[in-house]
Symmetry: C2
Subunit: 422 residues, 2 copies
């Protein structure tokens, strides 16, 4: 991992980050031994496999500045923390603005792989940025507490109730939401503690959850993730190369019809803690599991044939005259073509908190999906799944959140400044 | 990661593993695209840095067979699960033997990166072995339940009480203990679930804990780990290259004075869940933290100078006439030279289970140490720390276990067979 490309000590990390943000590069590589300025630019998902192999896990950095916040189209990270805060009693718009300013400074510094402030705990020392992202969002209740109700997006209206919900209000929603992801667990933990410390007297933790994904290099090449049911999960995700990707995932630069202007370049995150009833699921034979999902477990190919990316043949019947992909199969019901083209970018973490109070694994999916408008993304799909998904008996939605995640901060700006100061 | 060395499709994974076990190689590299038999042999800690760089995270395997079980001298893994089981009512020696046979078969198969059995959940698919290790131990209570009290090692006598203990009996000890480690979280989770499934009706989970370490590649070169206090932790660990390493860590091949013959090549594991009172710790200035530890936070060097591996100068005084490394500094009190040469191999995982019932982080260290005799390893050091360690106010021992971990299984043998069948 030592010969990772171009070497140039004259360009500072800071400048590199700014450049990457301006040119829209989705990632860049810093580091080398001793933190010297050895680096190689890599353009995120567009990087060649060779460039990726040369970059070490620790030295990869996501840019803080940019049109969008990092952590939305950033490749899945090995470790994640979700944390929601409520503003402290007495804290209002002024305190919230100062908080977002502090948090943004902390995020920018840590995402560059540097310690933050005199009281840095040192937990992230030795490692590089490790693809750290820190992403900030506002919940519906934030706006009343800060006197900003008039600027609250309609898209933050509460999600409808679903019949299968078993939601714990104490672990749902919140004034503020922070998503932390990194490819190293200590780097992620350091970021979480730093964000908590910088909350100071302005905000208090409402809930906090930990998650994980594959480690970089665990598979021969980057692959669609598997979840804790063993299923390949994320095949149908829109791709940044799709012509309508930006339109579906991000609020337009002018705010558009969906959202207020301060949300330009932003996105709405729906967060669901979905427990998997693994003791029940694992009792099903593989063939039964595959009928529930509508795809083969081994490679995620539709039961109607092909490979993972082959389209479902929803009309195909077997020798018995029955649909090959059953009418209640999860893949059928959630297929975009069955939902008026509703699309969301799912970017989850798995979670596993040991054994729950009921003796079954407290494990499942921290489902996070991104869209320009939840009413045209998550809601119609979940409404349909709620009615007749064969997967429903094996999962339980235990917590829920909906957050407005503003666009990325411009140079010299903090995240949310356009809401809080204009 | 595609050009990782020698290619030879004619040698099966299984044969490779058997060979590696027989020759004592500590690790080997499997994998390549599509799971074909592309491989390169690497001798674990003896591998050259270049060979390590060429090996991908997923394709590294630890051998199941060998003189010692894997997971003791194996490099720290990114993810870990500890799980203790109690034998089910009515289960005795026969059921325990069948259980260890099933568990050994599962461990051997999964450590080779292969699915186990017809009902494999598929969670580890796509990834390679990812340095998976599964390590089995027996607790003191195992011997009475299986009618084997006469073969119980004296080394399993209960640990003494320490004044700083706040132990939760429900999360301590147990008839059986399994340590799972892997560099990929899904591979580790898959192994945990498989071990639980294979317990069948013979044993029930008593407690289960999750932990983590740095991801491979997060630092520029392999370094001593940091813990969640931000301290470099493990500097004083004995090295396999030390002349007396085997003698200190493993029971001799003839059983020796310490233990019964069935423990030949085995080791004793002391497991402590040590909560870190991080809210208090992080209030200390860095200089104060360094006096508590006796080492510099940045690089782990003694406060008396040098680098991480420089010996402590325990007599050195500063201009004020005071000891530079205070009399109650953690590094002083735990130094082997202060404990009659007591040595143990510490091989921990950090843990973080979110926010505890008291509102503070439920985080700290899953301390695991290995020694040929706990009375000459953990106990004298902990006794001394218990009396006057400056670190004590910032930590709390919340659970404890002591387990006899037998030697590795020979070819065709299962772990513990020499106890259960002779």
């Amino acid at each position: 991992m030592s010969d990772n490309g171009v070497s140039d000590n004259d360009i500072s990390r800071r400048r590199l980050l700014a450049t990457a943000g301006a040119t829209g590069a989705a990632g860049l590589v810093l580091g080398g031994a001793g933190g010297a300025g050895v680096y190689a630019a890599a353009t995120g998902s567009g990087a060649s496999p060779d460039a990726k192999a040369l970059a070490s896990v620790g030295s990869t950095a996501a840019p803080f500045h940019g049109e969008h916040q990092a952590g939305i189209t950033t490749p899945l990270q090995a470790r994640g923390h979700l944390v929601a805060f409520d503003l402290a009693p007495g804290a209002g718009r002024k305190e919230a603005a100062a908080l977002l300013r502090r948090w943004s400074a902390a995020a920018r510094t840590m995402m560059a792989g540097e310690p933050f402030g005199d009281t840095d705990s040192g937990v992230a020392l030795d490692a590089g940025p490790s693809s750290l992202t820190v992403t900030f969002g506002f919940g519906r209740t934030f706006f009343a507490r800060t006197g900003l109700n008039s600027r609250r997006p309609a898209a933050l209206d509460p999600l409808p109730d679903f019949s299968s919900d078993h939601l714990d209000a104490r672990r749902s929603n919140g004034d503020l939401w922070v998503q932390i992801g990194a490819d190293d667990a200590l780097v992620a933990f350091h970021a979480l503690r730093t964000i908590q410390r910088e909350a100071g007297d302005a905000a208090r933790v409402r809930w906090q959850m930990n998650g994980f994904n594959r480690s970089p290099g665990a598979t021969a090449q980057p692959m669609t993730a598997r979840n804790l049911m063993g299923q390949i999960d994320g095949t149908g995700n829109p791709k940044p190369s799709d012509a309508d990707f930006d339109q579906r995932i991000f609020v337009p630069a002018d705010g558009g019809a969906e959202g207020p202007e301060w949300m330009a370049g932003g996105s709405y995150a729906v967060v669901r803690r979905i427990r998997m009833l693994l003791d029940d699921w694992e009792k099903l034979a593989r063939g039964e599991q595959e009928k529930v999902i509508g795809r083969k477990k081994s490679d995620g190919a539709p039961l109607t044939g092909g490979s993972e990316t082959t389209e479902l043949d929803l009309d195909k019947t077997g020798p018995d005259g029955k649909l090959v992909i059953p009418s209640n199969a999860h893949a059928r019901i959630s297929a975009p073509e069955q939902n008026g083209g509703a699309a969301m970018l799912r970017r989850p973490f798995s979670y596993h908190d040991g054994i729950g109070a009921d003796g079954t694994p407290d494990a499942g999916l921290l489902f996070i999906c991104w869209q320009a408008d939840p009413l045209r993304g998550f809601v119609p799909v979940q409404r349909k799944l709620d009615r007749g998904d064969a997967l429903s008996p094996f999962i339980r939605h235990e917590a829920s959140g909906l957050f407005a995640v503003p666009g990325g901060a411009r140079d010299g700006e903090y995240v949310g400044q356009r809401l809080l100061e204009s």
